[in-house]
């Protein structure tokens, strides 16, 4: 039987979210590396760069499509998109 996936979102949105996921994966690995190499200057510089990039993309995504994190809320004061929009496990969202 068809799993009843929500309609997949447009490719531009999907691409942006994929980019955020990729960068976050890099950040996660750098995070774990730096935990045990806390004086590695190159590692910290890489973290700083990718973190700035992630923050920028999350901000772009939030402005276009809705919030990914509560610390970066959208400016729409008519509705609380965080709760109205699909949750990620529904499949259509990401």
């Amino acid at each position: 039987m068809n799993a009843g996936c929500k309609p997949c979102m447009d490719s531009e949105r999907q691409k942006l979210l994929q980019e955020i996921s990729k960068i976050d994966f890099v950040l996660k690995d750098l995070n774990l590396y730096l935990d045990t190499h806390p004086y590695d200057q190159q590692g910290m510089e890489n973290f700083r760069q990718y973190n700035a990039l992630k923050n920028k993309l999350v901000k772009d995504y939030t402005e276009k499509y809705g919030p990914l994190v509560l610390s970066c809320v959208d400016m729409d004061i008519r509705e609380w998109k965080w709760a109205i929009q699909d949750w990620p496990w529904e499949g259509g969202y990401n």
Partner: protein, 139 residues
């Protein structure tokens, strides 16, 4: 404390349901070598870890494991979405369904509930890290 990111670590988009596979995959959620046990293991062991850097690794890996079982749950959820009564009976999913319907509940593939006895937390660096290595070789 924790903050939630409203996305999966890797996307899960399943187009065909399959309750038989779901019954196997659920073990990676609540089974002996599942992501829930992994997360709880690291987050429990970190308090008595005498080195800040190692407590940091346990915190950050324990956090990542939460994102892992979220993906496993999404897989099971999507594999069992909108099942008909016939599909539930024919696939053998009825034995799970009778207690949990299509809700997510942490158990092993054989039906054994998630149990803290799946991991250890002993307050000894070598013991706990050895336990972590043994566990992560299997999940």
């Amino acid at each position: 404390m924790w903050n939630y990111e409203k996305r999966l670590q890797y996307p899960v988009k399943i187009t065909q349901t399959n309750p038989q596979i779901a019954q196997v995959i659920i073990s990676q959620y609540g089974g002996p070598d599942g992501e829930l046990a992994a997360s709880m293991r690291y987050l429990a062991q970190r308090y008595t870890m005498p080195y800040n850097s190692v407590a940091g690794v346990l915190t950050d890996i324990g956090t990542e494991e939460l994102a892992h079982f979220e993906m496993i749950c999404a897989i099971v959820y999507q594999l069992t979405r909108n099942l008909t009564p016939e599909e539930i009976k024919e696939s053998g999913f009825d034995k799970y369904y009778v207690d949990h319907t299509l809700a997510l509940w942490p158990q092993a593939a054989g039906g054994i509930p998630f149990n803290a006895c799946e991991f250890q937390s002993k307050g000894d660096v070598i013991t706990d890290l050895t336990e972590d290595m043994a566990a992560d070789a299997t999940n």
